[in-house]
């Protein structure tokens, strides 16, 4: 959005109502999920939304080194979101950007309502989210991956959390926007939720919507989240089944 919209904005919805990558407005990108991809981490997951690839790793609950950083009544979540330097078009400097600092907080707060931290007082649960390739929706794919990694680590949760970004492009509300739609569209709205409980845990909007457009966008996001959530459960069920055998 914003500045780039001024110049050479490509057509984002064609005459058939399809998007730059051929999707319908309410269609997700091809989504792929894998859990247990790392040996050392207590839990891990690799999640792909099209060309957006995110790796999440979880360590914990574990003892925190500076004792005074723990809480007496529950576990502390520590969360770091960052992009590998070659995950973007222009190389990203490895120094943490203000954007990465903000998103680490936003993602932590998307996961906090789900984790039963009260079961592990005086411990720390570390969540590391690494964007391997960025093509729009990295924070929401990160939430989806982190929730899988938490489950893979055996950390009790109220429900899984899944996320997706909706947007407004060429006046149309669309699901799971990709990088081009993010750059040239009118609005980008990342959402995450615990679908089983109807609880929204992440909500941001960059761009301008009418109140009515907002309502439509939120509904569409929750529908997409439900579908991603079903895939998460399937992946975990499959892994669990394999272990059972």
């Amino acid at each position: 959005m914003g500045v780039a919209a001024e110049k050479e904005k490509p057509k984002l919805i064609d005459e058939k109502g399809l998007r730059v990558d051929g999707r319908r407005p309410d269609e997700l990108r091809p989504i792929d999920m894998e859990v247990g991809v790392l040996k050392n981490a207590d839990g891990s997951a690799l999640v792909k939304y099209g060309n957006t690839w995110v790796l999440a790793a979880v360590y914990g609950p574990r003892e925190a080194v500076p004792k005074h950083m723990t809480l007496p009544d529950r576990a502390v979540l520590r969360c770091r979101y960052r992009m590998l330097s070659f995950s973007t078009h222009e190389r990203k400097s490895p120094a943490p950007s203000r954007r990465e600092i903000e998103l680490s907080k936003v993602i932590r707060e998307a996961l906090e309502p789900a984790v039963l931290t009260e079961l592990y007082p005086r411990t720390t649960i570390d969540i590391f989210i690494e964007v391997l390739n960025a093509h729009g929706g990295t924070r929401t794919a990160g939430v989806t991956a982190a929730a899988l990694a938490l489950a893979d680590a055996g950390i009790p949760m109220r429900d899984l959390v899944a996320g997706v970004a909706v947007g407004k492009v060429d006046g149309i509300i669309v699901l799971d926007i990709n990088e081009n739609e993010d750059m040239y569209g009118e609005a980008d709205m990342p959402v995450a939720a615990m679908p089983g409980l109807g609880r929204i845990t992440l909500l941001q909007l960059n761009g301008v919507l009418t109140p009515e457009e907002f309502r439509v966008a939120l509904k569409l996001a929750l529908q997409g989240i439900k579908r991603i959530y079903d895939m998460q459960k399937e992946v975990l069920r499959h892994k669990y089944a394999v272990v059972e055998e």
Binding site: V3, I101, L205, V208
Partner: protein, 288 residues
């Protein structure tokens, strides 16, 4: 690393008093749940800044200032001015603030205000090129929290919007040969061009209640926050959920309603505060 914060401790009795009142639709300072505290806005507060505003919202005090410098445009927007927003929670403002570079809360606040100004194109940056493609105005918007008694985002947004409304662009000399630009800060060439006014309304969830403009104690009891940016036309121009807890779809609907209802009063307060300065420069303060 973003880390679960330690929540400030509110004495049990006080906490119960606040919650019991909320159940009856009341606040400890007699306000309604959807009511802001008294707002004081002073423009032109800092002589050396090109624009500035001091805001007192209840006992919360913040100061926003604008400095204009000449710099290079971004490669992908060669004819546009550049806005850079920073916020700092100075250690004077609260026993819980530490000296040092801005923490995640200050960074989040600055980025919310940045997006709230950028997305609805509040500043007409396309009028801020000096030598197209080479030199443009860099707008440094710096926000300082001086005293923290809750609802920092709204207070800082009010101060930021008012500071921008009252910003004068200094006169310049352009050396035609070398392309060097000299700023003459003692003279002015007019006001910063503003296309529309925006404000934020931050709605806090305390127990099962939604309130606006909490003081520090109420804020400490709140479990989630939704900051909603609203334009003068009543459009939604930004959202940011924060806090350890969730929101339901119904709560979000209700928060949006609270925002749309409160925004006009806040936008009027900004407009009033900036009126004199904009009138003096012969520009009407009704936005663009």
């Amino acid at each position: 690393m973003s880390v679960t914060p330690e929540l400030p401790i509110i004495p049990k009795l006080k906490a119960n008093a606040i919650l019991n009142l909320l159940a009856r639709g009341q606040r400890i300072d007699k306000r309604r749940l959807d009511e802001y505290r008294e707002i004081t806005i002073k423009t032109g507060y800092v002589p050396n800044a090109e624009g500035s505003a001091y805001v007192k919202l209840g006992n919360t005090q913040v100061l926003a200032g604008v400095k204009l410098e000449v710099g290079q445009p971004y490669a992908d927007a060669p004819n546009e001015g550049v806005l850079i927003v920073n916020a700092e929670f100075i250690p004077a403002a609260s026993p819980s603030f530490e000296p040092g570079p801005p923490d995640e809360n200050a960074i989040e606040l600055a980025r919310i205000i940045d997006r709230s100004l950028r997305e609805p194109r509040v500043i007409e940056t396309n009028k801020l090129a000096i030598i197209p493609g080479k030199k443009v105005w860099i707008i440094w918007l710096d926000i300082y929290v001086l005293d923290h008694d809750g609802n920092l985002i709204d207070a800082c947004m009010l101060a930021s919007m008012t500071a921008l409304m009252s910003t004068r662009i200094p006169a310049i000399d352009v050396n035609k040969e070398t392309g060097e630009v000299t700023i003459k800060r003692e003279e002015t060439q007019g006001l910063l061009p503003i296309s529309r006014l925006v404000t934020t309304v931050s709605v806090y969830k305390i127990g099962n209640y939604l309130v606006v403009d909490p003081n520090q104690e109420e804020e400490a009891l709140s479990s989630a926050r939704l900051s909603i940016t609203v334009t003068e036309e009543g459009l939604i121009a930004g959202l940011q959920k924060a806090g350890l807890d969730h929101l339901t779809e119904t709560e979000i609907e209700k928060a949006i309603e609270l925002a749309l209802n409160n925004a006009p009063k806040l936008i009027t307060a900004i407009r009033e505060a900036a009126k004199d300065i904009r009138a003096k420069e012969g520009i009407n303060s009704e936005g663009g």
